[in-house]
Every structure is written in C-alpha cells, then in structure tokens.
C-alpha cells in the first residue's frame, strides 16, 4: 500500500529552465524529490520530473472508417495516427510527420486505404501494414485544401488552391488522374459528394458551387452572405460542406452560420447562426439523421432531424446539444454511428458517445479524451540516472538531481544538486523522429526518422560530455519503428518497418551486424514493441495484431509465439531471473507468460479465471510501461497516464466487491483491517498525467509528469469570450 501524505517543500530549487523567474514560479515548475513510504513494500524516493516540455501538435483532420471501426487523425506537424475504436480507443499505428507535409485533408477509400493531401500539393497514400508512405503524387494544382472519396470509394476528388477540382481514379495500387472539373475563381476549401455520386458540392470563398459529376460543369453557384449580424465582415470562407442524398447542401462558414441550401434550385432554405466565430468543420452520420459541427470557440453542436410535432411525418433539422470539451478551435469532427468525435488546436481528441445510440450503458458510453500518444517518448538510463526526452525534431538529455537529505513519508526533500540539461540534439532534415532510446549505461543514444537511423556514442569526462556519431550505418538500417538496448548495453535491437528485427553488437565506437530475424512468411506486419530479458537471452517482439514472438538471442532462433489475443499489445517486459514475459493489452488485461516453459504462468491463469476488477477493466488509458523490482520478484510495476500500480503476486486478487483503489491508510491501522483490505493491486494516482515511470534502483523511482496547464500555455491563442463576472 502506498501511503500518502504529500507536501511541497518551500526551499526547493528551480530547474534550469525556469531559473529567471520569481520564487513562487519554482513551486510550480521545480523538480523536488518526494519521499513516499509504503508499509509493505518499503519506501521509495521519487524523482518528480516536470521539465519534459512536450507539447503535442494540434489535430487538423479526423476521418472515421465505418467498416474497420478505425479513426485516422492527422496533426498539424504531418503526423497521422490510427486509432482502433473497438480496441478500447488504442492508438495502434502512426506515421511520423514531416515539416513540409502540412496535412489539410484525410480520407478513407475502398478497401480501407488511407489518403491524405496537404499544402505541398501532394496526395499521399499510406501503407497500413508496413507503416510507411506508399507513394506521394503531385496533383499539379498547387496546395490541396480538401479531399473527398466518392461514395463507392473508387474515386477521389481534390480541391486545390488554383480553384480546380481534380478527379482521380483509384486503381488497385495507385491513383490516376482522370479529369478536371470547371475551374473556379478561388481556392476550393471543402468538398462533398452526394451519396448517389451524381453531384458534388465545393465550398470556396464567398460561394458554394454544385457540380455535375458526369459533365464536370458547375450547375449552381450559391453566394453566401458576408454579413455577420448586420455588420459586413471580411470574406466569408466556407470551411465545410455536406451533401445529403435528398439534395440538401449544408454549409458551415467563417461568419458562424450553418446554412441549408437546395441544390436543385440553388437557394438558401434555412440559416442557423451558431457561433460568434468561425464554424470550422462538419460531419454527417451515415443515416443522415444527425450531424455535428465544430466551432472556433471550442463548442461542438449536434443537429438532429426531428419531427415537427409528434406523430407528424414532417421533419426538420434542429440544433439539439452543445458540447464544450475543447478550449480552442475544433478543426475537425467526425460522426461514428454511436459517437461524436472532435479534435482541434488544443490537441485533445474527444470521443463523445451519443446516449440514445448506445445500447448497453457500460463504461464504453463514457466520454473519452485522448491527449498523449500511446507510446513511450521517454527512455531512461538507470546507471547514470539520465532521462532522454523525445520531441518531434530534437532529443533532450537530462541528468536527474540528487539529494542527501532524508525525511519522513510525504516530505519533499531539497535538492543538493539540480537537474542538469546535458544535451540538446537536433535532427537533420525535415522528418520527425519516430523513436529513440538511450542505453542503460548511458553511453549510447540511438534514434530514427522515416529515412535515416542515427547512432551516437556519448562519453563523459567529469563535467563535459562529448558526442560522436557512429557513421556508415548499413543500408538495411534506414528506418526503425522501435529501438532497444540490451541490459549490458552491448547489443542493439532494431525493429525495422520491413517487419524484420536486426541485432547489432556494439563495440567501442563501432558496431557489427550480428543477425536479422525475418518476419514470418506471408506477413509484412511490422513490429512496434520490443522487450529484452535482463540476462540478454530472450527478445520479445510484438506487432499491432498478431501475437508476440519470442526469439532466443543466443541461438538466433524463434523460440515460441504467444497466442494472438483480440486486442493489441500496449506494453511488454521480461522479468529478471524468472524470464516471465508480462504483456499488457489495450483492454487492460495483463498476461504473464513463462518463456522457458512456453506457457502462461499459474498466476496468469488464476487471474484470468477470476477476472480483473471491474474498475481496472474500465480504465481508459493503455498501460504504456512495465518494469520489475530487482529484489522483489513477485512485484510487477506498471503505469498508464493516470495511475501507477504495483501488482504483488503473492497477495490475493481483488474481487469486484473489494475496493480497488486503496483509500488513504489511517495512521494507526490495526492489522486486521489491513489484512482485510490488502490485495494484489497497489495503485497510486498521485502523479498525473504520467508519461513515464520507472525504477532507478531499489529505493528510487522516477516519474515524469506533464501538467495540462503547461501545454495550454504554449498553444496558439483561443477566441475571446466574454464571461460574466470577470
């Protein structure tokens, strides 16, 4: 049980980042040591790190695929992420960003193919198996603002800066330009197909055009009123259009209007003024009985088609529910059959289930807010107490502070030595970093972008550190999805995006390629997670859907494959001495698999038989890291974004009646009560949002937090709103 009783220390020293600021600034940003004493597990000194200055980039587009129940999200830095909504909203794949690829449009086409287009004028198709870009094709129309796949999914429309609408045919392995529609005067910012595929609507500046697909000519041009509440405003930008099958065109624009047009006559039917600011996005459900719009004020409005009076067949669109889950612009919305999905500049992806559409009122019906990536951005060198932070275009290496003071449980200890920013390593070129790792001994750093792999040797001489790049990486080491060093830092394991695993032996300042494990025949799935046993004999690797493969590093052979499970793996680790592989899945199940015996352990069987606590299964962020206590083989340490947990396998498992989250233990607790409440899951929710937590040595933990307020403070300015009483 983790005892609680925390307090801040007043004389804590500033982190070097904030050294210019006043004293109570330190209280917000400093990195004090915290001491936490637990009754049964001994005590931990906790490094509470808050200097990981990570700001996720804003969400630009969201595209929902009904068949696979997956959601593609693109961010302003060009990153594209794929979320599996049926696997507990887990972010199972991602494509790293690129400086020149500002994505402006994202869409799915037939056969679950994903396309994106952006301001560099290229249409890109992604390879969802190998996790790389299949091809990029120039549309020759300048920057592309919008894209839409035809209802049949075999054609693709792109709206360009020069006012052209280009039609592409989707062939099995590429796309092919077919023809241009009538060119418009200004840029095409939004596009929508009529579900029958006969017409399209294109939103531009100050007007909406309706095209006939067969002839390619504009049949209507519907002018949008620039006036905004009687005042003539700037140009009216049509941020989004939606074409319904009955011929209605819905448009949202920068004057804050949601307008309904009749495409047959080209007239305005109805006008809703929903916001004082831009309405930036629109998405319609497949049944066309509801749609959702997102505004720059951060509000999402739900519109529904309801009958005018009860019993009458006449129906009309009514604005039903406003949701305010965002603080900044909502740049993208999507409408899944059961939920409204929105994302915006404030970097949150919000999934709001519609209560009337949800059949079972379970925890799936709750609101989800995804802010942080579901992968690790931090690696740690235990020996040297170093933390390596991964950003989009650089790496930061920090030395943790230290203290000589001791204190009671809950005390904040003063730092005798501040945390030190040792290294700022910028990448060359415009590509984002995919993954990075620091070796346990702290003398190697490896990172990879989409096209290049970098390995650096670090040497420490007193206060100086010198960095030397290991040159001449072999041709097969071009890009890696995951990098891992062995415990003794003598070997490097690289999961490449071809599905193969490379083992490289590291020598002083050079390297030697030892072996490559080829992917199983017939699969091209790439591995995203790696784990190596502390003795260096076993290597476990897992892809996005197939089971976990365990390789014997000594014989260089595949040892066994853990049976595939329905949900993707979120974290992997191999326990010291016992060589038990602990696997966490996105539905919060934890399995323990004995590698030498090639079977699940007894503990894993019992917990599967009994089942996890219902509150445990309802947690909504995936477990991102697992580690072990060297001296206590019965303990498994794991964490997600909002809790840290120690599973003590020697204790009885909790059933649904027991309290999962341990309440604060009273000071003079009698043994009887303690025995009654003691169960295997010791959960601490003090540190949040928690991006990384690991055991440095037997008595020291490091926790890296990223408070949301600090992220908001670095985002672009929001819309001004008058609040009463301020």
């Amino acid at each position: 049980m983790l005892a609680v009783g925390w307090g801040w220390l007043t004389d804590a020293r500033p982190s070097p980042v904030a050294s210019q600021l006043k004293s109570f600034w330190f209280c917000r940003r400093h990195q004090p040591h915290r001491r936490c004493r637990s009754l049964r597990m001994g005590e931990f000194k906790v490094h509470r790190v808050r200097f990981f200055n990570y700001v996720p980039s804003g969400i630009r587009c969201v595209a929902y695929n009904n068949q696979s129940n997956r959601l593609a999200v693109s961010r302003t830095d060009g990153t594209v992420e794929i979320y599996n909504l049926s696997a507990n909203y887990f972010q199972e794949k991602f494509f790293p960003g690129h400086e020149s690829r500002a994505t402006e449009a994202l869409c799915w086409a037939k056969g679950q193919r994903l396309f994106s287009a952006g301001l560099n004028g290229e249409i890109i198709e992604y390879d969802l198996q190998a996790l790389n870009i299949k091809y990029a094709m120039d549309a020759f129309g300048g920057p592309i603002w919008s894209m839409a796949a035809s209802p049949s999914g075999s054609q693709l429309l792109a709206g360009c800066e020069d006012g052209s609408v280009k039609l592409f045919q989707i062939t099995p392995d590429k796309i092919q330009f077919e023809r241009n529609f009538d060119r418009q005067k200004s840029r095409i910012l939004s596009l929508s197909w009529r579900p029958s595929g006969t017409h399209i609507a294109a939103g531009s500046i100050d007007y909406i055009s309706v095209f006939d697909v067969k002839s390619g000519s504009a049949i209507h041009k519907m002018l949008v009123d620039r006036q905004y509440m009687g005042v003539s405003k700037r140009k009216c930008i049509i941020w989004g259009v939606a074409f319904l099958s009955d011929g209605t065109v819905i448009s949202v624009d920068s004057a804050g209007k949601v307008q309904f047009w009749d495409s047959a006559t080209g007239t305005l039917v109805k006008n809703h003024l929903v916001a004082n600011a831009d309405v930036q996005s629109i998405a319609v459900s497949d049944q066309e009985d509801s749609f959702v719009v997102g505004t720059a004020e951060g509000t999402v409005f739900h519109f529904q088609l309801v009958s005018v009076t009860s019993n009458s067949s006449e129906k009309q669109w009514v604005r039903t529910k406003p949701f305010q889950h965002h603080t900044h612009d909502v740049r993208a919305v999507a409408h899944s059959p059961t939920a409204l999905i929105s994302g915006g500049t404030d970097t949150h992806l919000v999934i709001r289930p519609l209560m009337e559409k949800v059949e079972v009122k379970n925890y799936d019906a709750a609101l989800r807010k995804i802010t942080f990536p579901h992968r690790r951005l931090i690696s740690c060198s235990k020996k040297k107490q170093l933390l390596l932070f991964q950003f989009a275009h650089h790496l930061e290496l920090w030395q943790l502070g230290s203290t000589v003071a001791t204190g009671k449980n809950g005390d904040t200890l003063p730092l005798s030595k501040d945390a030190d920013h040792l290294l700022h390593l910028k990448t060359k070129g415009p590509e984002n970093i995919i993954c990075s790792c620091i070796s346990p001994c702290g003398s190697w750093i490896a990172y990879s972008t989409a096209s290049r792999f970098f390995l650096y040797r670090l040497s420490y001489e007193r206060d100086n550190i010198s960095l030397q790049r290991v040159s001449k990486m072999p041709a097969f080491l071009r890009s890696a999805l995951q990098i891992l060093f062995s415990e003794d830092s003598a070997k490097l394991f690289v999961a490449s995006n071809q599905g193969s695993l490379h083992i490289i032996r590291l020598l002083e300042g050079s390297f030697k390629h030892l072996h490559t494990f080829q992917p199983q025949s017939g699969t091209v799935e790439s591995m995203c997670l790696l784990a190596v046993s502390p003795d260096g004999n076993w290597l476990a690797a897992s892809g996005t859907s197939a089971g976990v493969h365990v390789y014997n590093v000594k014989n260089l052979k595949l040892h066994c494959t853990v049976p595939a499970y329905n949900f993707p793996v979120t974290a992997l680790a191999i326990a010291p001495s016992t060589n038990n592989l602990v696997i966490a899945h996105s539905d919060q199940q934890v399995f323990e698999y004995s590698i030498p015996d090639k079977q699940y352990t007894e503990w894993s069987r019992t917990i599967q038989k009994q089942g996890f606590h219902h509150l445990w299964l309802q947690r909504d962020t995936p477990i991102t890291h697992i580690s072990f206590h060297l001296k206590r083989p019965m303990h498994i340490l794991l964490h997600d974004a909002y809790m840290f947990c120690i599973i003590d396998k020697s204790l009885p498992l909790p059933n649904d009646k027991t309290l999962l989250y341990n309440p604060l233990p009273p000071k003079n607790e009698s043994d009887v009560i303690r025995r009654r409440t003691a169960h295997a899951f010791k959960i601490s929710k003090i540190y949040k949002p928690l991006l990384f937590m690991d055991l440095l040595d037997e008595r020291t933990l490091v926790a890296v937090e990223r408070p949301l307020d600090d992220i908001i403070a670095q985002l672009p300015p929001p819309i001004k709103k008058k609040k009463f009483g301020t």
């Binding site: 210019q20 600021l21 006043k22 109570f24 600034w25 917000r28 020149s100 500002a102 301001l119 560099n120 004028g121 091809y135 300048g142 920057p143 603002w145 800066e161 840029r187 405003k233 700037r234 930008i237 920068s254 004082n276 600011a277 831009d278 720059a296 603080t327 612009d329 072999p474 041709a475 097969f476 071009r478 071809q498 193969s500 390629h513 030892l514 072996h515 490559t516 080829q518 091209v524 307020d709 908001i712 403070a713 670095q714 985002l715 672009p716 300015p717 929001p718 819309i719 001004k720 709103k721 609040k723 009483g725 301020t726």
Partner: protein, 260 residues
C-alpha cells in the same frame, strides 16, 4: 531617294552625286582615321587618291573634274564591292564562330551527362525499384546473413554484396527535383499558409492571449493562483539599462565626494 539608292548600287549609269551621297559616312570615317588634322575642304576626298598622290593635295580643285565619271564611278563601285565583301566575310566569320560555339556547347552537354548506362538505369529505376526494393533488400540481408555464417570463406562474394548494398542505397539516397518548380511550389505553399494563418489568427478574428484566457478560470477560482506567464522579461529594457548606468555613475560620484 530611299527607293533609288539600291538601284544605284546595282547599275553603274547613274548620278555621281547619288553615289557620293550614298557613302559619305564610311569615307569620312576612314579619313578621320587616317588623317585627323586635315581640313576636309572638298566635297569628298577618296582614301585611294590620297594613297596614290601622296602630298599633292593642293591640286584637288581641278583634277577630279576630268576623272569623275569614269574613274570615280569605278572607284565608287569598287569601294562598294569591297565594303560588301567585307560585310559578307564578317557574316561568314560570325556564322562560323557561332557554329563552332554551338558544337562546343553540344560537346560540353554530352560531357556533362552521365554515361548512357547510368542514364538507362535512372529511367528504368522508378518503375522497378519501388516494386522490387523490399525483395531486393531482403535478398541483401539474407546474403549478408549467409555471409556471416560462412565468414572468411570467400572474399569475392562479399565484395559483390557490398556493391549491391551500395547500389540499393544509392538509388534511394537522393531525389532529383527541378529547382524552378520547387521554388514555385514553396512560394505557393507559403502563400497558402499565410492565408490560413490570416483566416484563423489575423486581424478581426477576435483572439485573446493565452494568459488572459487562463486568467478567466483563475478569476473565478476560490483559490487564486499566479498567472501562467506573469513576468515579461523583455519589458522596459531601455529603462533598466538607464537605471543601471545611473546607479553606477551615482556610486562613482559618491566615492569621489567621500574621498574629498
């Protein structure tokens, strides 16, 4: 007059005045070139005459009159022909020069181009490499693996493999683009970015600052906290510097007065 002139040049039986008028410029130029100090008193002093007669310049007044029609015409015609010839020669020379230069350019271009084999490779590469590259890579890796196993047995093979690896890497290590297109594309992209920036955050968009936004919540909280960014270090730098200087001077003055 203008129409007549070409006829004059062709036919010999025509007025001398016309001929004289026809080429005053060239003659004068020539004269100026040869004898600069001479006062040109006559209507036209031919350079040929000058050469023949040498110093008998003073007899000009009478002598030309008898010669005029026969000799002057002939001379004029000759002169004309000569000029025409030189022009033709110049033209020919120029033509030849141009020809030679063109040839040189072609040769240079040829020299600059990569050898035919490489060019062929490049043109065929885009279709083949994309499809084959994973396979190729695998091959290479497999071969490497074998290599590791049978290490030391055959050095020739390894060389070949290394070359293969390099060639694969070579094809992918660069991308050829025309800079002109790239510039155009970049400028368009910049314009597009500026447009979106102006739409979202430009004037008239009613944006607030992050600090003000965060303070809204803070104002309503029962426990007031500090602003997220409450210190602007850039503020009043000039005044701070002035104050510093003033303080230093003041200290010096104090020291002086105390010494006295």
């Amino acid at each position: 007059m203008v129409q007549l002139r070409p006829r004059v040049s062709r036919t010999p039986a025509s007025a001398s005045a016309m001929v004289d008028e026809g080429q005053p410029a060239s003659e004068e130029e020539a004269e100026h070139g040869l004898l600069l100090g001479q006062p040109s008193s006559g209507a036209a002093a031919e350079p040929l005459q000058d050469d023949e007669e040498g110093d008998s310049e003073f007899d000009e007044d009478e002598a030309p009159e008898e010669l005029t029609f026969a000799s002057a015409q002939a001379e004029a015609r000759e002169e004309e022909r000569r000029v025409r010839e030189t022009v033709r020669r110049d033209k020919a020379l120029l033509k030849e020069k141009r020809k030679r230069r063109e040839e040189l350019f072609i040769e240079q271009k040829k020299r600059k181009l990569l050898p035919d084999t490489v060019l062929e490779k490049l043109t065929t590469a885009p279709q083949t490499t994309i499809k084959k590259s994973p396979g190729k890579l695998k091959e290479v890796i497999l071969q490497k693996k074998n290599e590791e196993c049978e290490k030391g047995s055959d050095s020739k093979k390894t060389k070949e493999k290394v070359q293969k690896v390099q060639s694969v890497g070579h094809n992918k290590s660069y991308l050829a683009v025309r800079l002109k297109d790239q510039d155009l594309r970049d400028s368009r992209q910049e314009a597009a970015k500026a447009f979106i920036q102006n739409c979202l955050y430009g004037p008239g968009t009613n944006r607030t600052t992050v600090n003000k936004f965060l303070s809204l919540d803070n104002k309503r909280l029962p426990v007031k906290k500090a602003a997220a960014q409450f210190l602007n270090n850039a503020w009043g730098t000039q005044r701070k510097q002035n104050a510093k200087r003033f303080k230093r001077r003041w200290m010096v003055r104090r020291m002086k007065t105390s010494k006295k």
